[in-house]
Amino acid sequence: MSYLFLFNVIFYLSLASTLGAIVFSLRKGILRSDLKFIQVILFISFTADLLIGVTTDLFHIHVPYIGSTYRILELIIILEFYLNIFNSRYNRAIVRSLQVLLPFLFFFVLKFEATPIRITNSVLFSIYSISYFRKMMLEMNVPNPIMDPLFWANSAVLLYFSGVLFLFLFFEPLAKVNEASAVISYMFHNILLVLKNVLFAVGFWKNRYVKAI
């Protein structure tokens, strides 16, 4: 079994996990407003990955900028998710500035280069998710974290974005010297993507459970 085959298996597994998480988010009931941002980013992620999969595997063509565009949308939407959680004037100013400034930088200065935006997202969302846990511990208004949908969503964000930070940092240098190692390392990214989607699905599940109570 070649590593490329294994890479494809894990890639489609991550695609299936994204679809699974979307299905969980669409179950009967009212989805809380903050989780709707996660639902939207999952839709975009699924569409982008599906597009990459179809164009690469069926038509053997590479459509440029899909990954970079997805990362910019991810930046804007997840920042909106955190604005919903930390709705202070101070955070609003930070989020709005980042939502304007960073895409501008990526479009016009970095010319759609994927690595800087991936690293920025990783650092930014790791900090935001840790801030959420800090807020949770200070305010003590979540009696049982396991029952809290936001706890699962934040765990997904923290584990995924902190886990992929070093992958994104070293992916390009590794690809330059050894392509096979780079592909294998990206497989690990897809495994973390599966983990993220599973945790998001648990969050959506808990959202329903909380409503049912």
Partner: protein, 267 residues
């Protein structure tokens, strides 16, 4: 080329593992911390509800005791005097008393009615000292100390500073705290001297000191039944933004300080 790739790979693996380990630790720590805090919260709530229940029971009990005491005062004092006075009046009306004893019988009846009036006045004063309403806290506490002073236990009162105006509720709560502390010293401490000091400076400070057998405040607090008295004083003080400090140890008397900021409005 190969060694460069393996170096980068090692860095990547180590970095990712460390990051994942850190992230996982944060998630588990949050779960552990929240659960522990929840347990602590539940334990505190249980303790508080136990204390509140005990406080309620003690309040009901003390109300019942007070009612019994008033009923007994009314029955044995006022009731008995009025019955005797009525009997005398009936005898006077029916002419059962010889003429030569008439003046003496009338005098006796008048004395009985006077004594009844005095008893009613005393009961009323015990319930709410009129001096508190008319002359204020300082005078009422002075009267209380004079009333409770006896050959076995001297109750001394000292006042410092110029009396400030307090609300009626504040005055009553401070008066009740002093009353309870002096009564405790008389009943439980077997003290020979009790000093009551009020310092009207800001913060207003009330000190009740005795040379009795003392107690261990921490031990008393640990026992819900015995600690209710202390909690009740703390509770009253907190209603007017005050703080209570208990200083005592077995065999060394007790000093209880209550400090209240003058600008505090009662809750």
């Amino acid at each position: 080329m190969e060694s460069e790739a393996s170096n980068i790979l090692v860095l990547l693996i180590v970095g990712t593992s460390v990051m994942l380990l850190l992230a996982g630790s944060i998630v588990f720590f949050v779960i552990y911390y929240q659960k522990r805090m929840l347990q602590n919260k539940i334990a505190t709530q249980e303790l508080e509800s136990g204390y509140q229940k005990q406080l309620l029971l003690t309040t009901i009990d003390s109300q019942e005791k007070e009612r019994k005491r008033i009923a007994s005062d009314l029955h044995d004092g006022v009731g008995a005097m009025l019955s005797a006075a009525k009997l005398n009046l009936n005898m006077l009306k029916s002419g059962a008393i010889p003429k030569e004893e008439l003046a003496e019988a009338l005098g006796e009846t008048k004395d009985m009615i006077d004594e009844t009036i005095e008893t009613v006045r005393r009961i009323s004063k015990d319930l709410l000292p009129s001096s508190l309403e008319v002359f204020g806290l300082s005078k009422a506490v002075q009267e209380l100390c004079e009333k409770l002073d006896n050959p076995k236990t001297h109750v001394e009162y000292e006042v410092k500073g110029e009396e400030v105006t307090l609300t009626r509720q504040q005055e009553l709560l401070i008066y009740r705290m002093i009353q309870e502390l002096v009564n405790n010293a008389l009943k439980h401490a077997e003290a020979s001297v009790i000093n009551v000091d009020i310092s009207w400076n800001d913060p207003l400070t009330v000190t009740v000191q005795d040379d009795g057998k003392g107690f261990n405040p921490d031990e008393i607090r640990g026992d819900i039944k015995r600690g209710v008295g202390l909690y009740s004083i703390e509770n009253r003080a907190s209603l007017i933004g005050g703080e209570v400090f208990f200083e005592s140890q077995p065999g060394a008397g007790a000093t209880i300080n209550i400090t209240i900021k003058n600008d505090h409005e009662p809750d």
